[in-house]
């Protein structure tokens, strides 16, 4: 692994909520270009880790260097601009807005927000808009062609599965360097999960060097698509390695199944 570039370097990262320690001196690395699986029982700190990485939570102590810069103390906006995009465990889409609206906001950093541009240069706006329609259409075509037909319908009329697809598209539109997926398969059937994952890998192959971190409970998804896994328990890393390595790790078995009693 020594030839791999480190994208994120986490050192002694601690996050406390009152008396609860969600991340307890966490140490781990994310390498550039890999697909990393994040595993662990419920409440082991996986989502908290994502929230710290994206700036939504301010960690209590420690550091998390993303491309050499500490994300602690940065705003979510700054972190997004440096190329980190994510999805949420519980879908966070704007329900009254259309599929197009929800996806296009993913590339907020490249839109022109000027008053003059938006109000008076409608021709230039139209050109920018048309380019975005094409981009969104291309992305939707990969994930679910039927959604292309309905891209100007409000999101509230779509099923949970489609909403997850829309959320993934929103995160991918800005062509991020680091994509954080928080249980994208929750509520999906086996086949749907497989389809979604293949689509994500498909997009990833077109984006150069996209790194993906995936929180997932479905073991066969982890087995199929991750290069490496990290297992959390009580806010600490208890194991890391390939899928085969971690599944045979006694620490992991204890965390999931409990201590063997004699």
């Amino acid at each position: 692994m020594s030839q791999k570039q480190t994208l994120v370097e986490v050192k002694d990262l601690t996050m406390r909520f009152g008396g609860l320690t969600a991340l307890d001196k966490l140490n781990m690395s994310i390498f550039e270009g890999e697909v990393l699986g994040l595993l662990g029982p419920n409440g082991s700190g996986k989502t908290t880790f994502f929230n710290v990485l994206t700036g939504l939570y301010k960690a209590s102590s420690g550091s998390a260097l993303y491309r050499g810069e500490n994300v602690l103390g940065k705003t979510p906006q700054e972190i997004y601009r440096s190329g980190v995009a994510r999805t949420f465990q519980r879908s966070r889409l704007s329900l009254p807005l259309t599929v197009f609206d929800n996806i296009v906001i993913g590339d907020y950093q490249h839109m022109q927000h000027g008053l003059i541009f938006n109000l008076f240069r409608r021709k230039a706006f139209r050109a920018e808009y048309d380019a975005y329609v094409q981009k969104v259409r291309d992305l939707l075509n990969i994930f679910s062609p039927p959604l292309v037909e309905r891209m100007f319908e409000p999101v509230e009329t779509f099923s949970m599965i489609d909403r997850r697809r829309i959320e993934v598209c929103r995160a991918l539109l800005s062509q991020p360097r680091l994509l954080l997926l928080d249980e994208p398969s929750a509520g999906m059937t086996h086949d749907e999960t497989h389809a979604l994952m293949s689509d994500i890998l498909d997009v990833r192959s077109k984006l150069n060097n996209l790194t993906v971190v995936l929180i997932e409970h479905e073991m066969n998804v982890i087995e199929r698509i991750t290069d490496r896994c990290v297992v959390f328990n009580y806010g600490q890393k208890i194991a890391e390695g390939t899928y085969a390595q971690i599944t045979s790790d006694p620490n992991v078995q204890t965390a999931y199944l409990g201590e063997e009693t004699v």
Binding site: T54, G55, L56, T75, P76, Q77, Y80, R81, A85, R86, F88, R92, L93, S94, L95, P96, L97, T98, D101, V104, I105, G106, Y108, Q109, M111, Q112, H113, L115, N118, L119, R122, F125, R126, Y129, F152, E153, P154, R170, S174
Partner: protein, 385 residues
């Protein structure tokens, strides 16, 4: 049954002409029986139009040809102004509807788009009117410029509220604006420089050397001086309507909507929550200030009692009754809220009871307002896809 009309241009023409005739009859009606019949007709027509799907077709026609619909709306208003050219009171009501709609457009930007509830709409309207009274009395600045400056003053004074509004959410932010509205009224009342409770005179508007307060005659008919103000109000209202509509169909409107619906997701995708709320809040107050400025010149007099908390509520109820976030809905809502109580004078104090009951009934059957906001389409051509 006759073949339904499919041509949107034809639908819009028929609806506009019918509405104009109806409004002409309604504004004319003075007898109890006349008004009762007209209200009944309106209720029946609305119910039939909804049941037969005609209402849907009208909405579709408006969505297909928004530009044409706007021209018809402006034309119908001009026709009404022309029809009532010598009736002060009716023209005053038309002006009030147009200017309250303008202030409502500002509140739509704040509440409907970015989710900042402003319960001090009348205060910002009042700041515009007071600024105009002072500037027009004591300076020689051209009046058209005074209108713009008054709007800017409303926006700047409103900016003292930005920090408390941004630090609080939902009901608490609303409370901040309520407090400001009361503060404004009390401040004016105790301030002798601004006339105290007696208020101030506002000089009439002069446009390019022509005084709007002088009656003029067309084709030998003496026209009310309110005609000029009504046309001016229409221009102001129409201009700001176009700006708000363009904002809605731009990245700015989209950003504001995303900020309103999910602040966490918005921040994760780089949106500066504060930035968009501040822009919406200041622009909204700017529009309310402009409306207040014209209103002040039109009435010739401003007093603290014209800008109470009750007036702020009236403005907000127009915004909500029309359909939160929908600029088009403001107009019928403003007519119901402002004109109907005047037309119900004959039942004296019962008119407020009737009017309040009507508002409740409307919201009972249309919980999202008269014309709920439609899903955004940046360009109307997308509908044909």
């Amino acid at each position: 049954m006759t073949r339904p009309i499919r041509n949107p241009a034809m639908v819009l023409a028929l609806v506009s002409i019918a509405t104009t005739i109806y409004m002409w009859l309604f504004l004319h009606a003075e007898t109890q029986i006349g008004i009762a019949i007209l209200l009944a007709v309106a209720a029946i027509v609305v119910v039939i139009a909804r049941k037969t799907g005609i209402a849907g077709r009208i909405e579709a026609a408006g969505a297909r040809r928004p530009g044409l619909a706007q021209i018809w709306a402006a034309g119908s208003t001009l026709a009404l102004i022309a029809l009532f050219y010598d009736q002060h009171f009716v023209l005053l009501m038309i002006c009030a509807v147009l200017l309250y709609t303008t202030a409502g457009l500002g509140l739509t930007l704040q509440f409907g788009f970015s989710g900042v509830a402003n319960f001090a709409g009348a205060a910002f309207f009042g700041i515009g009117a007071y600024a105009t009274a002072v500037l027009a009395t004591h300076t020689g600045i051209p009046h058209l410029l005074i209108v713009v400056i008054s709007g800017l003053i409303a926006a700047v004074i409103g900016s003292v509220l930005i920090t408390p509004v941004l630090r609080t959410r939902g009901h608490y932010a609303a409370l901040v604006t309520i407090a400001f509205g009361i503060l404004f009224k009390t401040f004016i009342e105790v301030n002798d420089v601004l006339g105290g409770p007696q208020g101030l005179q506002v000089p009439g508007m002069k446009l390019f050397g022509h005084s709007l307060n002088e009656p003029f005659s067309i084709f030998g008919h003496e026209a009310s001086f309110y005609v000029s103000y009504a046309v001016l109000s229409l221009v102001v209202c129409g201009g700001i309507f176009l700006i708000v509509k363009a904002l809605e169909r731009s990245w700015i409107g989209l950003s504001m909507d995303v900020v309103r619906t999910d602040e966490t997701a918005a921040a994760t995708f780089g949106l500066h929550i504060a930035r968009w709320k501040v822009i919406a809040f200041m622009m909204g107050n700017f529009f309310a200030g402009i409306a207040g400025s014209v209103y002040g010149m039109l009435t010739g007099f401003v007093a603290p009692n014209n800008f109470t908390f009750a007036d702020s509520l009236l403005m907000l109820s127009i915004v909500i009754l029309g359909g939160l976030g929908n600029a088009v809905g403001l107009i019928p809502a403003a007519v119901i809220v402002l004109v109907l109580p005047e037309k119900l004078q004959f039942i004296q104090e019962y008119r407020f009871l009737f009017y309040a009951a009507l508002v409740i009934v409307i919201l009972l059957f249309r919980p999202d307002g008269l014309l709920p906001r439609k899903t955004r389409l940046f360009f109307s051509q997308e509908t044909s896809r």
